[in-house]
């Protein structure tokens, strides 16, 4: 079954501390993974795609197929990073259509 698991509902850190938001997935095909961010009462925005291997706002994420993980990391958290973070998996179904399956989300709270 296709599934995305984000084990932490809330991650609370102090400014300047390292951050790691965990994401594990279950998918039988070739996975494509994303991190989305939702700032307070705003739309979801794409933060990272694993195929891009880029760093956005200091965040990075590496796909580890052996551990089926796609953890989001940042070495030094900033207060403006406080938001809801969703890990998502693109899953392909019969008929050729795709959909995004989201994890339950992790709220990151960065304190001064």
């Amino acid at each position: 079954a296709q599934r995305v698991t984000q084990p932490e509902k809330l991650l609370s850190v102090f400014k300047g501390a390292p951050v790691e938001l965990k994401c594990n997935y279950s998918y039988s095909g070739s996975p494509e993974l994303f991190w989305y961010v939702q700032y307070s009462r705003q739309r979801l925005q794409l933060l990272l795609r694993h195929i891009s291997r880029e760093s956005i706002k200091g965040f990075t994420a590496d796909l580890n197929k052996g551990e089926t993980s796609f953890h989001l990391k940042k070495p030094f958290a900033q207060e403006e990073d406080s938001a809801m973070y969703y890990c998502a998996l693109r899953a392909q179904f019969s008929g050729g259509y795709n959909k995004l399956i989201f994890g339950a989300g992790t709220r990151l709270a960065v304190h001064p």
């Binding site: 994303f34 739309r43 925005q45 795609r49 969703y86 392909q92 259509y97 959909k99 339950a104 989300g105």
Partner: protein, 116 residues
């Protein structure tokens, strides 16, 4: 120049009423979606349309009926609203549903529905 726009942004209504949320995208995308974010912030797909044709219909009560008059619009109509329908509803679009890989999905700002 908003890519995906939804109206209304906030809606408070009584149980039993019928309401609609409208969505429009100006990206020229073929595929549009409705997602529901519940009170626990869990985000789940409800429907997907490609070129006005329904392609994904998750287990959603029949009281929810999407309508796509053209590929740039996907409206969500909800009959006989219940307390449990209170949520944030996000519209989204993507270029198409088959060559999804490598594309991104663009979300609207959400519509906060409160049923009292």
């Amino acid at each position: 120049d908003t890519a995906v726009s939804q109206t209304p942004k906030y809606l408070v209504t009584q149980m039993g009423n019928d309401k609609s949320i409208k969505c429009e995208q100006n990206l020229g995308h073929d595929t549009m979606y409705w997602y529901k974010q519940d009170s626990k912030k869990f985000l789940k797909i409800m429907f997907s349309y490609n070129n006005k044709e329904l392609i994904i219909n998750e287990t959603v009560p029949n009281r929810f009926s999407p309508k796509s008059p053209d590929k740039a619009h996907l409206n969500l109509h909800i009959n006989s609203l219940e307390l449990g329908d209170s949520a944030v509803y996000f519209c989204a679009s993507s270029q198409d549903f088959q060559r999804f890989s490598g594309n991104t999905i663009y979300f609207g700002e959400g519509s906060w529905l409160t049923v009292v």
